[in-house]
Amino acid sequence: MSLRLEGSWTKSLSLRLTVLHAAVFGLLYGLLSLVIYFMVARAVFQNVDTEMLEEFHEMEAALEKGGLAGFRAHALAEVAEEGPENLLIRLYSKSGRLVFSSDTESWGDLSVPSPTGPWRGDRQVGSVSVTRRGNLKARFMIVRLQDYVLEQVVSLEWDLRLLARLRRVLITAALLTLLIAVPAGWALARRSLVQVKRIDQAARSIVTGSDLTRRVPVRGTGDELDELARTLNMMLRRIEGYLRELSDMMDNTAHDFKTPLARIRSLAEEALMETNPLEIQGNLVQIMEETDRFLSLINAVLDISEARAGLLRLQRTRVDLNDLAWQVAGLFEGACRAKNLDLSVDLVEDEAVVVEADRGRLIQALANLVDNAVKFCPAGGRIRLVVRIRDMKAVLGVEDSGPGVPPPMRTKIFERFFRAEVPGAADGRGVGLSLAKAYVDAHGGHIHVEESPLGGTAFLIHLPLTTGVSHRQSHAETK
């Protein structure tokens, strides 16, 4: 059924294109024909008028040279030459009395203007129909000739025949052109649409067959359809990438979810075998804690998704990074002491480094970076929190003396659930860095990984400075 639908769609589109093509072509041809026809007709009539004017001059000369007799002889000769049915010559006196007339047999009564006037200009020219000969068109010219008025009437029979032939030729040519243009237009439309159809079929088979590795054919002609095919392919590539990422994430998520669930289950099982109420209570509390951690893991994953989709809502306030670094350092004091790590803070002295940020989320981001450093730094190592201003950007960093991250891994570590295969890396949940990156990205900043001056890794959060640097503002208050 889908194939039938597709066919009719293609057909109707090519039909529309063909009709449009033919219509435009026909219109243009019609206009051109009209122009040609009217120009030819005008030239023909002008030619007749010019001939009549020449004739007048000849007859004027004859009248001057031979008087009325000379005129008569010349006129009769002219009429005899053209044929009395093609030329009529009449001469009137000024008062309108007929002085000379050639054969009027084939002319009858003509409704030409009276030779006595009224006159406009020195001659009168126009068309008239000859009723006796089936309304045959004729051209007349009435001119003053010395003391007379000369009237010439010329039949347009041959000229009209010529124009009729021109009409026939033009119409025949129009029909022939349409006969060629319609199928040509049809073929052109089909040719374009065949590619559209090919793209459509490929896209359809990808939809129904759910094989996202397939691609729409590109012909390599570089036209709009090729561009469409390329765009479609680009889209497919992205969708394929997203799907792969999604399925990887599902696998990783399932794995990461199994671990706490297994722990919770074994804790419950253990509690069931226990008789000492304090021990049971202990297990229940552990179950609660495991559940809470599990939930915050889920929430972190959801936050990452929201941040990536641009849906995370930040509650921005003015935050002094010096202040924030102190606060986060305070969070990890105990953990660092327990692992014998030297934790220090290196701030921008006497200046507040202010950014517009969601304080809670920025703390979370930085805390996750510090947590990562604490996890990977071997005992006796050093961790340093730094606040800097670099190229008018606020930089918030965590440097450590740990094993470092080799360059090829530096982008990978921000992927959800990525976990470096480092011996001794304790219980990293792999979400922390992704969450930190998601939060920083949501702020319009970015995280950058480089070698640390302490020998290990340096994670640097770059954020846009809001108000530049305000001197000696709130740093003293943080102490």
């Binding site: 509390v285 552990q286 804690e289 953990a335």
Partner: protein, 223 residues
């Protein structure tokens, strides 16, 4: 204060009902949307707790109906869905607060008290007393056996949170969420450090202690 809870999950609703009853509330439970709406409209209810996904009639419709009949009734929306859109929708059609499942009971209790306070049904005591420890929430002071104790802001917040939930086991993650506002434990031991300091300052050395540690992951503040 009478609370109507419209929730089809039996385990959850009976757990919440038991907790609320022990905190002094009268609790009624409806297991589906139709019954819940009828009860909400007919009986005397001070606070309504409503789940979104319910059999027969969904929570959004219930809220809409109830809002028309009782515009000032505080409504707490419960839902397992966390998306911002759901939350916004829940609040837009007339919910007063939104809580995502699963939740800690202490969180629910705090929200209910806040709603009750808003309509003048609960007058939260500003002075909390747990054994020898007295905490004045308004004046920001704490004392043990009448002796004033000097606390840092976070230590004080921790003490208030534990005093409000006295006798209830609080997990480390829960405390980190509620007192520090971090939803994701960054692996610091900040809670343990603060509990330790708080014990020192309260002179909590007896046996059993005022703040007991359970398996290193949970704390109870109990006289």
């Amino acid at each position: 204060m009478r609370i109507l809870m419209i929730e089809d999950d039996e385990v959850l609703s009976s757990f919440v009902a038991r907790g609320l009853r022990s905190s002094g509330f009268v609790v009624e439970i409806a297991r589906d949307g139709d019954a819940g709406l009828a009860m909400a409209l007919e009986s005397e209810v001070d606070i309504l707790i409503v789940d979104i996904m319910l059999p027969r009639l969904d929570g959004f419709s219930i809220i809409r109906e109830v809002r028309r009949a009782k515009p000032s009734l505080p409504i707490l929306v419960l839902s397992a869905r966390r998306s911002v859109d759901d939350r916004v929708q829940g609040l837009e059609i007339g919910g007063d607060d939104y809580l995502t499942k699963p939740f800690a009971f202490s969180e629910l209790l705090a929200r209910i008290r806040a709603l009750g306070r808003r309509v003048g049904l609960v007058s939260e005591s500003t002075v909390l007393q747990v054994g020898p420890v007295t905490v004045d929430v308004v004046r920001h002071t704490a004392s043990v056996h009448g002796r004033q104790v000097d606390l840092q802001p976070k230590e004080f917040a921790l003490l208030v949170y534990m005093a409000r939930n006295a006798g209830r086991v609080l997990t480390r993650t829960q405390i980190l969420n509620q007192v520090w506002g971090y939803q994701f434990d960054p692996g610091s031991n900040v809670v343990d450090v603060h509990v330790c300091r708080l014990r020192d300052k309260l002179g909590d050395k007896g046996d059993p202690r005022l703040i007991r540690t359970i398996r290193g992951v949970g704390y109870v503040f109990e006289a």
